[in-house]
């Protein structure tokens, strides 16, 4: 399997998670204290994999018979997934008990979904992408319906499953057409023979189907219909995972497959498609979010519009765009984890306190929590000196370098619209007085996770260079 110990060492993060899943299954079966042991085991496992990825980011190699890549961007993605998952796990400990869906398999399925994401980011072969995608998606369908007794959760799960399976169909069909015209599923072969392959209409159709399938997964308009309902129906911590890890994984797969193409001849073949879905997603997301009353639905539409900003980077398709998209994903992951984390903390039993109006006057009652939510909202709106601003800045650089200035202008117009609904939360928290003062169950674990996320958002905003230098070194 492995040619040498170095190869084994390079894919260690994936192996850690894989082995961890097996151990977790055993803990769940045999330990009486699994309720405490399992989440903390997951957190440490995720952190171990994440730190390994970050520390050995320089070990660029291709392993396992040209199936997986390691090092560089792959490792940055792995770190985003695993550290993000560690935050989600911390948030879940108290939340899923409150939510009434404590099952041991929750943590284990969370781990398998992360394994799927990691395979997608590391893939060097279309089949590995497909394998990773399915591991992730099937885990997601189960997580969405974690509370079997709740009607909305069942609806979310079923809706996600049906539409997700439909999208997967597109991807498989796309891969089949690509295989039919290229006679291989190796990504390296496809990128190196791209100019000849594009003469074959079937190949272009294949890539397009592949892209459409992934447009579902990144939650871009017009393939976004599942997003609001699934976010609303799923447990809040699970929605946090969908909107961060799930989105980042889909982008990592697109980057792994397509980015080598963009620099070659005919590289801008798919720019029109990507630019169109980008503009539609940005504006649709920002405008519809204004009308939302449920905070989870608002974050869902915000997620659609952020998919649009990220797609600007895909459309630009140059070196800066790769770096920009990865930076943006890292920033977005922690902003959204913080936002969903705070929502999950404030959420009462039976999914109360989810309406935006229940945040009125929070600034007086929960100063620290409100300050953190305000920072996250400013960051999501793209205000300096927070991480979200820098992500946008970087993506606009990429767009302008690729002569897509018009796309950057539309991007800023859409962010100006989005300011309105992000600020609405801040207005309610600080400028309005409370309507109903609800009691909040405090949770030290969740607070830890939220504070960590907010610190990352501030640090990435003030010192973006640390991450940028790491990414640009390997693009």
């Amino acid at each position: 399997m492995f040619n040498n110990a170095q190869e084994f060492f390079n894919v260690l993060p994936i192996i850690i998670i894989g082995a961890g899943i097996v151990v977790s299954l055993l803990i769940e079966m045999y330990s009486k204290k699994s309720e405490i042991l399992l989440p903390w085991f997951s957190v440490f496992m995720f952190l171990a994999a994440g730190l390994h990825s970050l520390y050995y980011v320089g070990d660029v190699s291709i392993v396992l018979q040209n199936m997986l890549a390691t090092g560089g961007n792959v490792n940055v993605f792995h770190a985003i997934f695993t550290i993000g998952a560690a935050v989600v796990t911390l948030l879940s400990i108290d939340y899923i008990k409150k939510y009434g869906a404590y099952f041991g398999e929750y943590y284990i399925i969370l781990q398998t979904s992360v394994l799927g994401m990691m395979l997608m980011a590391a893939a060097k072969d279309l089949f590995v992408i497909f394998l990773g995608l399915e591991i992730m998606s099937v885990s997601f369908y189960i997580l969405a319906g974690m509370n079997r007794k709740k009607l909305t959760a069942n609806e979310a799960s079923l809706k996600y499953f049906l539409l997700g399976a439909f999208a997967t169909g597109f991807i498989v069909y796309g891969i089949a057409l690509i295989y039919g015209s290229a006679h291989t599923t190796s990504i390296d072969f496809i990128t190196s023979h791209f100019p000849e392959l594009t003469k074959n209409l079937l190949f272009i159709a294949g890539i397009l189907l592949f892209l459409i399938g992934f447009s579902f997964k990144i939650a871009a308009f017009p393939f976004h219909m599942w997003v609001p309902d699934v976010y609303e129906g799923s447990p809040t911590t699970v929605a946090a995972l969908f909107s961060t890890g799930g989105k980042a994984a889909a982008f990592s797969a697109i980057i792994a497959t397509l980015f080598a193409l963009f620099n070659g001849p005919n590289g801008n073949l798919f720019t029109p498609y990507l630019a169109v879905i980008s503009v539609l997603s940005m504006f649709y997301g920002s405008i519809v979010a204004i009308a939302q009353d449920n905070i989870k639905r608002m974050l869902a539409y915000s997620s659609i519009s952020h998919a649009g900003y990220l797609a600007i980077g895909l459309a630009a398709g140059n070196h800066d765009a790769v770096a920009g998209v990865i930076f943006y994903l890292a920033a977005y992951t922690f902003m959204n984890l913080g936002a969903f984390g705070i929502v999950s903390l404030l959420e009462g039993k039976n999914e109360t306190n989810l309406s935006i109006n229940s945040y009125a006057g929070l600034g007086n009652r929960k100063p620290l929590l409100s300050a953190m939510l305000a920072i996250i909202m400013f960051s999501l709106a793209g205000l300096p000196p927070f991480a979200g601003f820098f992500g946008k800045y970087y993506i606009f650089i990429a767009a302008i370098k690729s002569n897509l200035t018009w796309l950057a202008i539309l991007g800023v117009l859409s962010s100006a619209i989005s300011v309105y609904f992000y600020l609405r939360i801040v207005v309610l928290m600080y400028f309005k007085s409370s309507e109903n003062e609800f009691e909040m169950e405090s949770s030290r674990n969740s607070m830890l996770a939220i504070i960590f996320s907010v610190l990352v958002v501030i640090l990435l905003g003030v010192f973006p260079g640390t991450l940028i230098d790491l990414i640009t070194k390997f693009v």
Binding site: L383, I400, T405, V419, Y420, L423, V427, Y430, F431, D469
Partner: protein, 516 residues
């Protein structure tokens, strides 16, 4: 390059201070107030040190501090001042401690948060004036919105939420277009310089070479963002709302410093970066400026609310500044710079006085007053003084700036028409009408409102706040040379950059070697 970290200290003092305040228990409101006052006074003293070490014969940026920040994108923490920015830095550090004292009695709730945001605001304003990297400038420019938004939204009047959101979205909308223009410029730099850069000093050398049809778009993107901030007619509609709803300290800083960020931006970025486009756009912008002067004055005349009247007078006064900038002669630009300071002082004083009386009577309607000269003589005198300064009475500060602007715009080869001066001059007359008429209705006549009986005159703290401002008003009015001298070289340089944009290649300037 020689590094000088004085400006960095200047920014760090309020930044660290604002977090320091957070650690004081909120019950100790007075301790918080004294700490904040001490912090902002230290910042003022540091800016005085900078002033005394400043070489006004040198037109280059001084006190430069340049530290690598984001290596991958060639972004530096790069600060420095020339004469124009030094004057505005001094205005900021001078007004901040005074406004902090002025709010001691009016801000009773959430003193800690207020102080935190106020010091943060000072950081943002100072940063805007000293940044020499467009990226850094943009960060401060935008970040400053957040504290101001909270100051209006939490401590403001009845319609504060509406005013805060309007202020925020208006400004944000303008600045986002500027962000695209900044990125475009930085990408454009790759052509002539060979690398991506947002360094202002380097961009000064290459931006004027941008072809005219693009330069116009760049000019508009920058100018739009600054014009909203100034505010230039017809983009001024956020201003009366924000001013009227903001607490006194917020209004003073808003009028005194924030609006100057717009005119400063026009002067620092638009003119030297896009000279051809600026010359082409000058007549149009000057027409808007003159409309603003007259419109602001006429609308101010019919206001029944004193604070709104002062707010509209800002639209009129800032019109003068914009006219001065786009007349593009050295006299007019000197006049514009000194007028920025004057407006900060006289309008700041007016807002402070409105705050003083509002705190006692809780009304700002002119018709509720009348005949208070006998009840509160100190106040009546101070209001007279501030009004006359704002009108532009010779011997006080307002006259110097307006005179220079009118003189400069009369001779301006770019505007090439004395109609601008004629119409603008009528604004001075209107100013006398609306301010003196307001003064007459508030101060003279018979006391009709029984609530005014027993009104307390200004206390020692309030006199202490206004006295330094009045001293400066007289100083500038009688001997403006002290201040004009500071900005003389740098405004001359702007004019030179306008008419002979630097057309040397960057290689000759040694810019390429310094990088590689």
């Amino acid at each position: 390059m020689e590094q000088n970290s004085l400006l960095t200290y200047l920014i760090l003092i309020p930044l660290i201070g604002s977090f320091l305040v957070l650690f004081i228990r909120k019950e100790q409101a007075n301790l918080i107030r004294y700490t904040a006052f001490a912090i902002s006074t230290i910042a003022f003293l540091v800016s005085l040190v900078i002033y005394f070490q400043f070489d006004s014969a040198n037109s280059d940026f001084q006190f430069i501090n340049k530290i690598e920040w984001i290596k991958g994108l060639n972004i530096h923490y790069h600060v420095g001042v020339d004469g124009m920015s030094l004057l505005l830095v001094l205005l900021t550090t001078f007004l901040t401690p005074l406004t902090l004292i002025s709010s001691w009695s009016s801000i009773q709730e959430k003193v800690k948060e207020f102080t935190f945001f106020f010091l943060m605001l000072e950081v943002g304003m100072l940063g805007v004036f000293i940044s020499l990297d467009l990226f850094l400038f943009y960060i401060f420019w935008e970040a400053m919105l957040i504290p101001m938004y909270f100051i209006i939204g939490i401590w403001g009047g009845k319609e504060r939420v509406y005013a805060a959101i309007k202020f925020f979205i208006y400004t944000m909308f303008g600045s986002l277009l500027m962000l695209v223009a900044i990125v475009w410029l930085a990408v454009y730099a790759i052509g002539p310089l060979g690398y991506f850069t947002t360094n202002l000093i380097e961009l000064y050398t290459i931006a004027p070479q941008i072809p005219m049809y693009i330069q116009i778009w760049m000019f508009l993107a920058f100018a739009f963002s600054f014009a909203i901030k100034v505010p230039l007619f017809p983009l001024h509609t956020w201003l009366p709302d924000a001013h009227v709803q903001a607490p006194t300290a917020g209004s003073v800083i808003l009028a005194g410093v924030l609006l100057k960020m717009g005119t400063y931006g026009l002067l620092r970025f638009n003119l030297p970066l896009f000279p051809e486009a600026s010359i082409a756009a000058a007549p149009y912008i000057s027409v808007l400026a003159v409309i603003g002067i007259i419109y602001g004055a006429l609308v101010a005349m019919v206001q029944t609310d004193i604070k709104k009247l002062v707010a509209y007078s800002s639209v009129s006064h800032l019109g003068f500044v914009v006219l001065g900038i786009f007349a593009m002669t050295q006299e007019s630009i000197q006049g514009a710079v000194i007028q920025m300071i004057n407006h900060g002082l006289s309008t700041g004083a007016l807002f402070l006085l409105v705050g003083v009386i509002y705190e006692r009577t809780h009304t700002r309607e002119i018709s509720d007053y009348g005949g208070i000269a006998k009840i509160v003589p100190f106040f009546a005198f101070a209001l007279m003084f501030a009004s006359l300064s704002s009108v532009g009475l010779p011997g006080l500060n307002g006259f110097v700036g307006e005179f220079l602007i009118l003189l400069g715009s009369f001779q301006s080869p770019i505007l090439n028409s004395w109609w601008f001066t004629v119409f603008a001059a009528s604004g001075v007359i209107f100013a006398a009408v609306y301010l003196l008429w307001m003064y007459q209705r508030v101060v003279f006549g018979k006391v009709t409102n029984p609530k005014l009986d027993g009104l307390k005159d200004m206390n020692a703290r309030e006199i202490f706040v206004l006295a330094p401002i009045f001293i400066l008003i007289v100083w500038i009015g009688i001997y403006p040379g002290t201040f004009l001298k500071i900005s003389d070289r740098s405004t001359a340089k702007v004019v030179k950059q306008m008419y002979n944009p630097i057309k040397v290649s960057p290689v000759e300037l040694g810019l390429n070697q310094s990088k590689k």
